[in-house]
């Protein structure tokens, strides 16, 4: 193989570190949920932790950190559409709901 064994072993040590971090974050996120924070801070905290965990998996296990530029372009475009798809539908609904509430009150 093109990589030499020493370099791969360095990778392996990194994988173990990442695993430890993932496990620790899982414990933290579950622990925090027992504190029963109010909705907004709870959502922000939980999603921040999830994003960190997700980035660790993507960057190290999926080797995104040393990936080719083409992959980044594809993923960046996808992510943009992903964000649009995620929020625009609820925005269009949200405005209608907001108006209804005003009519009622």
């Amino acid at each position: 193989m093109s990589h030499d064994v020493a370099e791969i072993q360095k990778h392996v040590r990194l994988y173990v570190t990442v695993f430890a971090a993932l496990a620790a974050f899982t414990v933290v996120t579950v622990g925090v949920s027992y504190l029963h924070l109010s909705t907004m801070p709870a959502i922000i905290l939980a999603l921040t932790i999830a994003t960190i965990k997700g980035s660790l998996v993507a960057c190290y296990f999926m080797h995104l950190i040393s990936e080719k530029k083409l992959i980044f372009i594809v993923l960046a475009v996808t992510l943009l559409f992903f964000v649009l798809l995620l929020f625009i539908p609820s925005l269009t609904e949200g405005e209608a709901i907001f108006k209804n509430l005003r009519h009622v009150s």
Binding site: I88, P89, T92, A96
Partner: protein
């Protein structure tokens, strides 16, 4: 491959992994479904022209649950409408344009021996085939085929008959097929280009397929989700699309509620708007190839076209809710989608302008494919321009859900895309079969189709402006529709004559296989792109030796050469 001669009939023509065979399978299946979908529409046109009258002769062939005594039932009319749309879009045009032309031509035009994943390619055809069979079978289940419109809006579709479940399963198969296909196309175009064939030397048709593949890849998954959610609603009793307190025929629906019918519309149009460009971009690609070849001069603005098509593809993801102005989504969001819709019309106009400017000063050859390509330009222009009033909220409100809308998108897809696809069939037929299609019959087919298509769709604008709603089973019961009923009779005759004209095409297509004029060289149109550098028809593996590319795709009439074309792979 050396052992290709020893393959059995089944390996060679049915379960082949050769992109050309798969391309032909796609194209033929697509053409059959196009004709089938057209037949559904011809049936509907009887009801529209002569509402409630028994259909002579053919009407007797139908069962009592569809057309008792030859008189069409409203449910059957709804099924025909829903399935006409579904079949034309998902089983006809896309498989023919992307699966057929794309599969056959992309590897040839980029100088590759095959697609990047030949087995995946075959798998995607068979997924499509299964989807088609499921859709076709749904006509024979109790309650008939899906009858909630091709858009399948809930709550109606959630509580519709069993045909809707078949529709959903069929769609899941079709979406899977498109996903597999689009991954294959992108990898093929990125990785398998011939030496010297940089991105900016690609024929425009390949660019069109490239952008189309990205649209399929990223826009289809949300519809797959929508399909799964609707299956859950129908089979597992969930209420994703059912709001609380829904009452049907006086009885409350026993569901938990809390869902949103608008959710379906968002997920559906997130696909279905890019889908419009999936339908039109390959057609523009085909038209570009034909026009450049038949004007004998370079494309007026190649890079402009490429940037336009990229921008078009990108923007098509940000306009979907202009189909939903009437849902009360609020002025802020409406204005946003109104603005993006106006912006996306710019690249379309740029592309059309480039194609028209390419004609300027060319020495035009009026071949049969060129007839179709030239007709595409005004037809697509009418389709596009009539779309503008629908993209603006103020004018969309009175026009929404009228025949005006039907006229608008049919101009884009039927006289637009379909004429381009027919042009493509005439243009590449000699490469696929080694014989030319009959020119006289081709011209009759062209003029007949061109006139009849306009005869069908032009009056739709009049009907729409008169306020006639789409999907009306019995138009004559409304005074405002009764007033324009005469146009319906005219349109129906146009449609039936159009059907007859297509028989000429079918006859020509099969007759030319055996009796068409044999081509004298591998490059009968004296074209520049790589597909013409292969033997006719191309063997398994395509090129006799690996091609190398030295110049852009459209070097016609270069100064200082005796011939008026300079193939991409010719060194000097």
């Amino acid at each position: 491959m050396s052992h290709s001669e020893h393959q059995s009939f089944w390996q060679k023509y049915i379960f082949s992994v050769d992109h050309k065979v798969i391309g032909c399978q796609y194209a033929l299946t697509g053409l059959v479904f196009l004709f089938f979908g057209f037949c559904l529409m011809m049936l509907m046109r009887w009801q529209l022209a002569f509402p409630g009258e028994p259909l002579p002769v053919i009407g007797g062939l139908f069962s009592d649950t569809t057309m008792p005594g030859g008189v069409m039932l409203p449910e059957f009319y709804n099924s025909l409408g829903a399935m006409h749309g579904t079949i034309m879009v998902f089983l006809g045009v896309v498989p023919l344009a992307v699966g057929g032309f794309g599969n056959y031509l992309v590897p040839l035009q980029i100088g590759a021996p095959d697609m990047a994943f030949p087995k995946l390619n075959a798998a995607s055809y068979w997924c499509y085939f299964v989807g088609g069979v499921v859709m076709f079978a749904s006509f024979f289940v109790p309650g008939g085929a899906a009858n909630s419109g091709w858009t399948s809006y809930p709550p109606l579709s959630d509580i519709a008959t069993m045909g809707q479940t078949f529709w959903l399963f069929g769609m899941v198969a079709l979406i899977t097929s498109s996903l597999l296909g689009s991954v294959n196309f992108i990898v093929t175009i990125v990785h398998l280009r011939a030496r010297g064939l940089s991105f900016f030397r690609l024929p425009f048709f390949v660019w069109a397929q490239f952008v189309t593949s990205f649209l399929l890849l990223l826009a289809f998954p949300p519809l797959e989700v929508a399909g799964v959610l609707q299956l859950m609603d129908r089979l597992a009793g969930s209420s994703f699309f059912l709001p609380s307190g829904l009452v049907i025929s006086g009885t409350p629906l026993g569901v938990s509620g809390g869902g949103s019918p608008l959710l379906w519309q968002h997920l559906f149009w997130f696909l279905a708007h890019p889908e419009v460009y999936v339908l039109i971009l390959p057609a523009i690609g085909i038209v570009t190839e034909i026009i450049v070849n038949n004007t004998r001069k370079p494309l007026y603005g190649y890079k402009t076209m490429v940037y336009s098509v990229l921008f078009l593809g990108f923007m098509s993801f940000v306009v979907w809710a202009h189909h939903m102005f009437m849902t009360g989504m609020g002025t802020t969001m409406s204005n946003f989608f109104q603005a993006t819709t106006m912006i996306i019309s710019i690249p379309s106009v740029v592309i059309l302008t480039v194609l028209i400017l390419t004609l300027w000063g060319g020495s035009i050859r009026f071949t049969v494919p060129m007839h179709f390509a030239l007709a595409f330009l005004p037809m697509f222009a009418i389709g596009g321009l009539t779309g503008l009033p629908l993209g603006l909220t103020a004018s969309d409100i009175p026009l929404h859900d009228t025949y005006y809308v039907i006229g608008h998108f049919h101009y884009v897809v039927a006289p637009g895309t379909l004429l381009a696809l027919f042009g493509g069939v005439y243009y590449w037929y000699p490469k696929v079969t080694g014989r030319m299609m009959n020119e006289k019959l081709g011209k009759i087919h062209f003029w007949g189709s061109f006139l009849c298509l306009n005869g069908i769709f032009m009056p739709m604008f009049i009907q729409g402006l008169a306020g006639v709603s789409r999907r009306l089973y019995m138009p004559t019961v409304y005074a405002h529709a009764e007033a324009v009923q005469g146009t319906n009779v005219f349109m129906s005759y146009s449609a039936w004559i159009l059907g007859l004209v297509q028989l000429i095409f079918i006859f020509n297509f099969f007759r030319s296989l055996k009796k068409g004029k044999k081509v004298e060289s591998d490059n009968p149109w004296q074209a520049t792109t790589l597909e013409w550098a292969t033997p006719t028809p191309p063997p398994h593996g395509n090129f006799l030796q690996e091609p190398e590319v030295y110049r852009g795709p459209y070097e016609y009439s270069p100064p200082g050469r005796t011939e008026d074309f300079w193939p991409q792979n010719e060194e000097k």
